[in-house]
Amino acid sequence: MTDTAVTLPSQQRFAQMAAFLRPSQWVPLLLVPCLGIIVFILFWQFSASRIETSLGQFPGPVQVWEQLQNLGAEHFRERDKEVAFYQRQEKRNAEKLSADPQAAVKLRNYTGKPTFIDQIFTSLVTVAAGFVLANMIAIPLGVLCGLSTGVYKAFNPIIQIFKPVSPLAWLPLVTMVVSATYSVEDPLFQKAFLNSAITVALCCLWPTLINTTVGVASIDKDLVNVSRVMALSPLVHVRKIVLPAAIPMIFTGLRLSLATGWMVLIAAEMLAQNPGLGKFVWDEFQNGSSNSLGRIMVAVLVIGVIGFMLDKMMLTLQKRVSWDKQAVLR
């Protein structure tokens, strides 16, 4: 075995993957989490069957699974309807034009109700927009605050005051300001989308800003001195030294802000009736059919799974960007 001690990294990775295919490797790894999930489902089933609400029994795992399939089926039915609608419209217009080439042809958009899956995508796009908007401000500002004590002192009181404010308190103000200032003929974004995105941005701002500031301010003094001795220009200093050094803290901020952003978005959508998963939940609640609770439970689980996946995504990105491959990230 000693003569094969030196192996290429790719070989090592392949060996690891091959080892993972053996059941002895992955069974113990998955056993405990699976056990946890099974216990949870049993507990859920047990307690759900004992809760009676005005909308019927609290949905257990089976009902939720049924509703999940229903919601999927509804989506595809709706899509079929939409396709049929456009086909009809096209056909009608073609007939009109063949009868009279000068005829005024009307093109109408399909106005069907957005399905659960549509709402998921709306929410994802909104949270992404708010997140990106916030971090385009938070990271540069955080770097400035970390580099200069003066800038930090100037911004710190404002940060400390606005940080604890729930973005939902901003929501009415954002709504009014957007409707007052954003009035173009053919809007690129819908107002509701802007409202939600800006509200999300208002809460995504702070974790990234504060963590970036701390990350930049706590760079090893010797490294800063090395940069001074080399007389690096401020831009090169930021690019080559400040940003790589602060990457771990910046990502901590990004992950925190994405998680809170996702939570706040659902609440904002519920409150302001902006399209998205929050509106779906609220509509189902108002609807009050016997299936509503099951459908809301599906939304709850989906929101959770998406939140988890968003964090995993950031973690993967962090692992890719981070220079310290030994660091334990979780």
Binding site: L223, N225, V226, V229, L232, V236, K240, I241, D324
Partner: protein, 296 residues
């Protein structure tokens, strides 16, 4: 008298910590010729690093000043490269890129891309680190990291090379190797060097002059010792050389007889080091620490 290459004149510095003034240095005068190797030695906290940082431009002297080739030093710059004690390599850059960061900055306008590449490789060869060019600093040993730190500074072609306890964090064997490397590089390139050290042997072996500093506050230069040992120097031959032993003795005398730290402090530090040695039985330790309190 002609103007010296590096001229430290009447330098003093006062730090302001929480409204309290602390005078660290007072009236430090030192003149260096081109190609001279000078060591600063003294007890910890005596302001050796402060002198170095003032020459580097990282600190501003409260009074007096530093002139390099007749020009006053006001800012840090690559003509006064510093090797820090803890290598201070960027952990996210490879060995090559660490040196390249400095080379690209200094020779951006004067050397072509290919020339810079050659220059980086050449400097890594000088410190015998060309084999680890693509490694990250975290993947090489402490001694190797410090070699790269030295290569990075050499690559800037500084007028003065400032070494702040460069080998302090290394084990004795690695330190000896690096001292030999530094000696041969300095002989070959004729750099002007100021080195801070705690190590008396290191100071005598490497230096042309040893500057011995008094204790702070208001530390200054206590004495300057000329080291007239012929070069090249060999540590094994010198170990029994009467001249070497005598010089070493003089430095030790300065540090421990003339300018020892206050007695109480010294006793306390002995008591501290005894406390660390678990082998020493309790009663003796208590005798030492009680004498410490008496002295205080």
């Amino acid at each position: 008298m002609s103007i010296k290459y590096l001229d430290i004149t009447g330098v003093g510095i006062e730090f302001d910590t929480n409204g309290k003034k602390y005078r660290a240095l007072q009236n430090v005068n030192l003149k260096l010729d081109k190609g001279e190797f000078v060591s600063l030695i003294g007890h910890s906290g005596c302001g050796k690093s402060t002198v170095l940082n003032i020459v580097a431009g990282l600190h501003q002297a409260t009074e007096g000043g530093v002139a390099l080739e007749g020009k006053e030093v006001l800012d840090p710059g690559p003509d006064r490269a510093v090797v820090f004690q803890n290598h201070s390599l960027m952990p996210w850059l490879s060995v090559y890129d660490n040196v390249a960061l400095a080379v690209d900055q200094v020779f951006r306008k004067t050397k072509s891309r290919a020339e810079r590449r050659q220059w980086i490789e050449h400097n890594l060869q000088l410190v015998n680190m060309e084999h680890a060019m693509d490694k990250l600093p975290g993947e090489i040993s402490g001694g190797m990291q410090q070699r790269v730190g030295i290569a990075r500074c050499l690559a800037m072609e500084p007028k003065v090379l400032l070494l702040d306890e460069p080998f302090g964090a290394l084990d004795a064997l690695t330190r000896a190797q690096l001292q030999d490397s530094l000696m041969s590089i300095q002989t070959a390139l004729g750099n002007t060097v100021i080195m801070i050290t705690h190590d008396v042997d290191e100071a005598v072996l490497l230096s042309d002059r040893i500057v011995m500093m008094t204790n702070g506050p208001a530390a200054t230069i206590g004495d300057i010792l000329e080291v007239n040992l012929p070069r090249p120097r060999d540590r094994l031959e010198l170990a029994e050389d009467a001249g070497f032993v005598h010089l070493r003795q003089q430095v030790l005398e300065f540090l421990y007889a003339k300018h020892d730290k206050h007695e109480s402090q010294a006793v306390q530090s002995v008591a501290d080091s005894c406390a660390q040695l678990s082998a020493i039985p309790g009663p003796e330790k208590s005798v030492l620490s009680s004498s410490g309190t008496q002295a205080a």
